[in-house]
Symmetry: C2
Subunit: 133 residues, 2 copies
């Protein structure tokens, strides 16, 4: 928005950090270098973020928490999650794509269960850590 009509703004020279960049090497460059060196590569970071994003939705948390206790079909899971069956199915696909759940067909029913023990661990620590606040 270029129009400066109603409000006379104090226009700054706006040079150095106008873009939000830190103009100086204001850094404790030693620490930055060390931390950067220890940082996982982008692919690993992406995988981690993706993994956590699977747990970042209440519906999926409910689904996974249920699967921590029992193997359930989509229909039942939709009841536990209080969502429509398509919505539940879609979340299950996402979780399956990430390798967190697996399924098994029994007649017409698709029984889902946990595929990655990390999920149980993560949910547990998040739940009792959450009480602290």
């Amino acid at each position: 928005m270029e129009v400066t009509s109603a409000r006379p703004r104090r226009v700054r020279p706006a040079r150095a950090n106008a873009t939000g960049e830190c103009a100086v090497v204001c850094v404790d460059s030693r620490k930055v270098a060390a931390v950067c060196a220890a940082a996982p590569d982008d692919a690993a970071i992406g995988r981690v973020a993706e993994r956590f994003s699977a747990l970042s939705d209440p519906t999926r948390v409910r689904i996974l928490h249920a699967l921590c206790r029992a193997e359930l079909c989509v229909c039942d899971l939709s009841k536990v999650a209080r969502r429509s069956m398509p919505a539940t199915s879609q979340q299950l696909q996402l979780l399956r794509r990430l390798g967190l759940v697996k399924f098994r067909m029994d007649g017409r029913l698709a029984y889902y269960s946990l595929a990655d023990p990390w999920v149980r661990e993560a949910l547990e620590t998040a739940l009792d850590g959450g009480g602290t606040r």
Copy 2:
């Protein structure tokens, strides 16, 4: 939920399930009831999801991973995260709101550090669990 019989299924002519709803009580209602009983309340579920959502973004993962190793100012963090300073600052606010990081002013510099040990634990398990897949 009313627990009655845990029957495989004796389906009766229910209406079409065009809406995606499961027309029948096709459920293994015993399991559903048990799982529902064990399920945390909505508030807890929401907190857990919120917590994980903090870790569901690559920028925030990078930031938090860095803070696992050192206390850093926003400027330095923006370098580690390879994001603009405003973007970094905004993510830090979000993390602060969730109680995952805390900060300390030193002159003009705001030094951020981890406030919740759960973050370190969660990142660790997600990183080495992530290699499996």
